[in-house]
């Protein structure tokens, strides 16, 4: 296994940030609004430094392999088993971690006593049976987003979660992405004023297909393109951004309207390649969601619109509607927020207004300009996925249950499925009462 010193401590930066929050004025209050981060500290890491979470990868396709690469850089993780029913992917994964035992039947794998945690990266229609079986087998369980293919399956998983003593995580990596954590906390501190609207989009220009060696494997390999195994662009992409939208709003929408079509990729697929959805919150704020995969000009992003400013979370930058603070004053404010006493570089001859007043961005993390294009079909680097999987492995060792992660995934998945229903039935769909859980605030 890889033991590269430089790349091993993949999650330290965020851990240090969370720890420092504890020392900051208001930092503890901030942490109570993001409870899933409370245990994600360097201190917790040193408590478990001699222990390893023995994990299995269930589904060794591209996303499974992506997690394997991250896990190899996490000292408190050990990959002990791999499972897939598609031999080429299992072989690739096995080459990455040759010591891990391989399985083709996941139920067989779940019988193994040598596995503490299972990481599920399979097509969406497999999420529910595998999560439920894994929990029933007494395994701590991590499953990729979205939660499940149907609302009933989501509800079943939620019920199982309420009754299990096992740890359950879902792949909501923005919850562990520093620029989102900071950006959302700035929004909640009132930086951009009242939220008046949210615009989310994800644009790509590719057919979303994987090569198929033989025609009978089409539905197995290109599972994303068929309703029997996928929710299409909503469950595969929008789920992350709808989660962020709810995180910003601290509530969830009560209804959705939308339209979906196959505009360009008319190749026999069933799921839409172009969707437009509008989610309506009770206070009148709307989140618009646009996604299509035959033009990538706009990439991906979430814009939170406030009456004083705009936060672009994915880009980690924000704009003020009218007056931007002077740079020296902004530096002073940033330092006070970090409890640092430093000089304010402002004195000099009179400041004279510049004639060209273009809106300039300010950055959530100083010196950071790390935005993904959204083009990767596997996962971007530094998007919080490594932190998230590290947090899961820590929890596998400590047995500490995740806070809010299941609920956040349930909410955003439900919104995806309701969006699909609105598009298919071409009508406004309200959030059904029978699927409301106590966590949800409308």
């Amino acid at each position: 296994m890889s033991t590269d010193k430089n790349t091993k401590q993949v999650d330290l930066e965020l851990r240090q940030f969370i720890k420092n929050l504890g020392y900051m004025a208001g930092g503890t209050a901030l942490l109570t609004t993001m409870p899933w981060l409370q245990s994600f500290t360097t201190g917790k890491l040193s408590e478990i430094k001699n222990e390893k979470a023995r994990v299995a990868i269930l589904g060794t396709g591209s996303r499974g392999q992506y997690h394997i690469l991250n896990l190899l850089r996490i000292p408190h993780a050990e990959i002990v088993a791999l499972c897939d029913n598609y031999p080429p992917n299992l072989k690739t994964a096995s080459d990455l971690c040759p010591k891990a035992k391989t399985y083709t039947d996941y139920r067989k794998m779940l019988e193994s006593k040598d596995i503490d945690g299972v990481i599920i990266c399979t097509p969406l229609n497999w999420h529910a049976p595998m999560v439920l079986d894994s929990l029933a087998a007494g395994k701590h369980t991590f499953c990729e987003k979205s939660m499940a293919l149907t609302m009933d399956e989501c509800k079943a998983i939620y019920e199982a979660y309420l009754h299990t003593d096992r740890v359950l995580y879902f792949g909501m990596q923005r919850l562990f992405d520093e620029k989102y954590i900071k950006g959302l906390s700035m929004i909640h501190s009132g930086l951009i004023g009242d939220i008046v609207g949210i615009r989310c989009h994800w644009f790509r220009n590719n057919d979303w297909r994987r090569p198929v060696p033989s025609p009978e494997l089409e539905r197995k390999i290109n599972w994303r393109l068929y309703w029997e195994s996928s929710g299409g662009l909503t469950t595969e992409l929008a789920t992350h951004q709808l989660e962020v939208s709810n995180w910003a709003m601290k509530r969830i929408p009560e209804s959705v309207v939308g339209m979906g079509d196959i505009v360009f990729w008319k190749d026999g697929r069933e799921v839409y390649d172009s969707i437009s959805l509008t989610y309506h919150y009770r206070n009148g704020v709307k989140t618009t969601y646009e996604s299509l995969i035959s033009n990538k000009f706009n990439g991906l992003g979430e814009q939170v619109l406030g009456h004083k400013g705009t936060m672009e979370l994915e880009k980690g930058q924000y704009f003020f509607e009218d007056v931007a603070p002077a740079p020296g004053i902004l530096q002073l404010i940033n330092n006070v927020e970090k409890r640092v006493f430093s000089t304010v570089p402002i004195a000099g001859p009179s400041w004279v207004p510049e004639t060209a007043s273009k809106q300039k961005p300010h950055y959530v993390i100083e010196g950071m300009v790390h935005a993904t294009s959204g083009g990767s079909m596997v996962g971007a680097e530094n998007d919080g996925s490594d932190n998230l999987i590290s947090a899961f492995c820590q929890a596998v060792i400590t047995g500490e249950k995740a806070k809010d992660i299941v609920e956040e995934c349930y909410s955003s998945t439900m919104l995806c499925l309701l969006g699909n229903q609105a598009m298919k039935e071409q009508r406004k769909v309200d959030f059904p009462d029978e699927y409301k859980i106590p966590y949800l605030k409308f």
Partner: protein, 271 residues
């Protein structure tokens, strides 16, 4: 039309207000105060007062009192408001204390007659015009200081267009406010660091874009040296007057002028 913006940072109990297009520049105010509502109330008062003063001191605004005085005082005695009268009396005092180098007419303040009995202003020469550009910010900052004192806001930093800074109390994590003076000719180069506590800092100087904006009222020559001067005093109006006068004065005059002011510290930076 000026634009005001404000934001309260709960975690740090820090209030920040910005006001753009005020007296030809901008103002940023930082209050360290746990009472958010009080901060907002004081900020509203500050914005209203600065807007009022901007209008009063703006010689280009045909509705301002100073516009009317400049237009008519050479041909008639113009009745002035209490406030304008008192500002001009102060300016006269500063004119004398600065050996004539601080001059709101930029040429001949002696031609301005202030009749305190009838509260009128007249000019004894043509082409006299009053320009408060060199002191309005200092006067305004004294007003702001009074508002903060009245509201019992003890720790605050007010940056009025970089050239005029008022510091009350101290930084939340220090025992003063530390201000760096930047070299306007080489961005990012710090020429000095000044510690302020219940003090005002005024900086005068030239910039690459504005080399001819300070004039010696005696010789009518522009001061074009690549230098800046900074003055720290307890009173913003004093600081404002001194930074302008000392920018113009030669070393001998600088010593004489400073002798008239208590607790004023002065620095000159040749860039």
């Amino acid at each position: 039309m000026n634009t005001a913006y404000s934001h309260y940072y709960d975690a740090s109990s820090l209030f920040h207000g910005s006001l753009l297009n005020i007296m030809g520049t901008r103002l940023d105010a930082v209050f360290i105060e746990t009472d958010k509502a009080l901060c907002e109330l004081v900020w509203q008062r500050v914005v209203a007062e600065l807007s009022r003063l901007d209008k009063m001191f703006n010689r280009f605004d045909i509705e301002s009192e100073i516009y009317s005085v400049n237009l008519r005082a050479a041909t008639e005695s113009v009745i002035a408001s209490d406030e304008l009268m008192s500002v001009l009396i102060n300016c006269k005092r500063y004119h004398n204390l600065s050996l004539g180098l601080f001059d709101v007419t930029l040429s001949d303040f002696n031609a301005v007659n202030l009749d305190t009995e009838h509260q009128t202003i007249s000019f004894s020469a043509k082409n006299v015009s009053i320009d408060f550009g060199a002191c309005a910010k200092g006067y305004a900052l004294e007003k702001v200081k009074q508002m903060l004192v009245d509201a019992n806001i003890k720790d605050a930093l007010i940056d009025f267009g970089n050239s005029s800074v008022l510091a009350l109390g101290h930084h939340p994590f220090g025992d003063c406010w530390k201000i760096s003076v930047e070299n306007p000719f080489r961005r990012g180069e710090i020429v000095d660091e000044i510690e302020l506590r219940d003090e005002a800092l005024s900086t005068s100087g030239n910039m690459p874009t504005h080399l001819k904006h300070i004039v010696n009222p005696g010789t009518h020559q522009f001061i074009e040296d690549e230098k800046i001067v900074s003055v720290v005093t307890q009173n913003s109006f004093d600081a404002e007057v001194l930074s302008t006068a000392l920018m113009i004065a030669n070393p001998e005059e600088q010593g004489k002028i400073l002798a008239h002011f208590d607790h004023a510290s002065f620095k000159e930076y040749i860039l």
